[in-house]
């Protein structure tokens, strides 16, 4: 399949702050003409500092926000032209893993209810079937059976993240947008989660759009890296190219910050 799964073209998003009855309309331009593409089964890492527009792009791709202009192609369909009712089948195909997993999970829900919620929303069967599927999914991501009736504050950071991943995978999506999935986790837990993500990607031919600010971590997982700065993609290349021959000065800064002396973490085809 040569055609990329996801194509983003010239995406622009401007936030306007309207103050009631005021003359000024202040606009914040979060994204300016962003274009990128992701092939099936591949990972594109979007790296940039806070405020560069990464989260906005993630939200737009997952259609939780509407871009001001531009197109988002998933396969043959342009998502920007669809309105909410038409979007429902596409929601299954793109899933977003939010940044703060503790905030993204309702604290009153039991663990299996969290994972089965997407099934419930999409009306995929009876409660019994949903629960069974949820338990199966939880097992696949490595959550022991003892945790099924727990609530999110009773889980560790790593377990919570796995729960969020299970929820994101349960509808069997084609593209997973991961917004800073490693934040707040210990290094060893980061490694575990990264391995889980890689294994799942191989199994299901998933594509990932990985949002990160850590260039080192991103380059170990990604097939391609796009560097975003002030709402614009300034460089787009493979990890080894980025790390060894960064073309933009900003990219060079990121590389210098990420890599200590002598650490070359270009992806060679294996995991961490």
């Amino acid at each position: 399949m040569d055609q990329p799964l996801l194509r983003v073209r010239d995406l622009t998003k401007t936030y306007t702050q309207n103050r009631f009855l005021s003359r000024k309309r202040r606009g914040i331009c979060a994204l300016r003409g962003v274009s990128l593409s992701i092939r099936r089964g591949c990972t594109l890492a979007l790296v940039g500092e806070s405020g560069s527009g990464k989260s906005t792009l993630a939200r737009c791709v997952a259609r939780l926000e509407s871009p001001t202009s531009g197109q988002i192609w998933l396969g043959d369909a342009d998502l920007t032209t669809l309105h909410s009712a038409q979007l429902k089948p596409f929601r299954r195909r793109i899933q977003l893993l939010l940044q703060d997993s503790a905030a993204a999970i309702n604290p009153h829900f039991l663990a299996w209810e969290v994972v089965s919620e997407p099934l419930r929303i999409q009306h995929r069967g009876t409660i019994g079937q949903e629960k069974a599927k949820a338990l199966e999914m939880m097992e696949q991501v490595g959550l022991p059976k003892t945790l099924t009736e727990r609530r999110q504050h009773e889980l560790s950071g790593g377990q919570r993240q796995r729960l969020a991943i299970a929820r994101a995978l349960i509808l069997d999506p084609e593209l997973l947008v991961l917004d800073e999935p490693f934040i707040g986790l210990d290094v060893s837990v980061q490694a575990q989660i990264a391995n889980l993500l890689l294994a799942t990607q191989k199994e299901r031919s998933l594509s990932y759009l990985l949002i990160a600010h850590d260039l080192a971590l991103a380059s170990s997982l990604a097939d391609e890296i796009a560097v975003i700065h002030s709402g614009r993609i300034i460089e787009n290349a493979t990890p080894s190219e980025i790390l060894q021959t960064p073309r933009q000065p900003y990219t060079a800064q990121l590389v210098a910050a990420a890599c200590g002396p002598g650490v070359n973490r270009a992806r060679t085809g294996g995991g961490l």
């Binding site: 939780l64 899933q95 939010l98 993204a104 919620e117 929303i121 999409q122 509808l171």
Partner: protein, 337 residues
């Protein structure tokens, strides 16, 4: 005291009171309208176990009141011992609209009367009227609170969730309600509605007015919760799965209001009971011959009653332990939230 005990004790007390009141027909020895004209303002009957001759009786008994024609002085007629019997036949009654019976929990044979809490100006047993009056006062408070909370939930969540014009309009309207002192507001609404209505009509009217007037505070609280809940990340996540607005409200936002609604219930119910009592006391609520604790207390506005017949204040005194229970309940619920 453990936390659950703190909630259970007042709750059990309240449930008991409400059950007593619901089964008033059985528990009360007399009907509300039964008048014993020859015994107006009779003091509470005294239960004795030991008679004049010094014998101890196992079964308690009372003496009939006799007043020698002078209604101001009552003394016990010690000639006849009238034992208190249980499960006696008496005035027929209907409970819950379906149970017909005429068996009462306790009573004494004619010509004595058992006035546990004395009698009023028409010779009606105050204890019986207290129980039946409780049906009106307690349940009008409960129902009015239910109405208020429902309205508050509806308007508060609509305002908080949809925001915009709806929110602005509702907030302006609630401002008008809040600008008036609540009793003045209650009177004002009552003022323009018909004064003389059937008993059932007045009862429903009172519930409607008190409930409709009291929606603003719960609405504001619900609105606050909804406003913060709808911005949470998990709501956003659910939206990402394609959830409808209604699903989000139902599953994620509204359950957060449960705590506030319960606490508000414990706070509002006594206030609304008091509203009914106040309105009936002043003649704007439930009218004779249907007893309510309010109109029973209004007898105290007469000087002679106030100075000589202390038992007429009991309908007001019962309010105190009931309010205490609601107060303790509210405190425990607040701590939980």
């Amino acid at each position: 005291m453990t936390h659950w005990q703190k909630i259970a004790v007042p709750l059990v007390a309240l449930v008991t009171v409400h059950l007593l009141v619901v089964f008033a027909g059985f528990v009360a020895p007399y009907d509300v309208a039964t008048q014993f004209r020859e015994h107006p303002y009779a003091p509470p009957s005294r239960a004795h176990f030991r008679d004049e001759k010094g014998h101890i009786h196992i079964r308690p008994f009372v003496y009939a009141w006799k007043n020698n024609g002078n209604f101001a002085e009552y003394e016990e007629d010690t000639e006849r011992i009238m034992p208190v019997r249980f499960f006696v036949p008496g005035d027929p009654y209907t409970m819950l609209h379906v149970l017909h019976s005429s068996v009462h929990l306790f009573g004494v044979a004619e010509p004595a009367h058992i006035f546990i809490l004395g009698s009023d100006g028409y010779g009606r047993d105050q204890f019986s009227r207290l129980l039946f009056g409780g049906q009106v006062s307690l349940f009008s408070g409960l129902l009015a609170a239910a109405l208020s909370l429902s309205l508050g939930l509806l308007f508060g969540s609509a305002a908080g969730y949809y925001g915009g014009l709806l929110d602005a309009v509702l907030m302006r309207i609630s401002e008008v309600f809040l600008a008036l002192p609540w009793l003045y507001l209650l009177f004002a609404v009552r003022a323009f509605l018909p004064l003389r209505m059937s008993a059932a009509g007045t009862f429903l009217l009172l519930i409607a007015i008190v409930g409709a007037v009291g929606w603003t505070r719960p609405a504001r609280l619900v609105r606050g919760i909804v406003l913060s809940a709808k911005e949470r990340s998990y709501v956003l996540a659910a939206r990402g799965f394609g959830a409808t607005e209604w699903y989000l409200l139902r599953r994620h936002v509204l359950p957060q209001t449960r705590g506030v609604l319960l606490t508000q219930a414990a706070i509002l119910i006594p206030q609304f009971i008091l509203a009914e009592v106040t309105l009936s006391f002043l003649g704007l609520g439930v009218a004779e011959p249907i007893p309510s604790w309010g109109n029973m207390l209004s007898a105290l506005q007469q000087y002679n009653v106030l100075s000589s017949y202390w038992w007429m204040i009991i309908p007001g005194l019962v309010l105190i332990p009931i309010f205490l229970s609601y107060y303790l309940l509210a405190r425990s619920l607040e701590q939980q939230v």
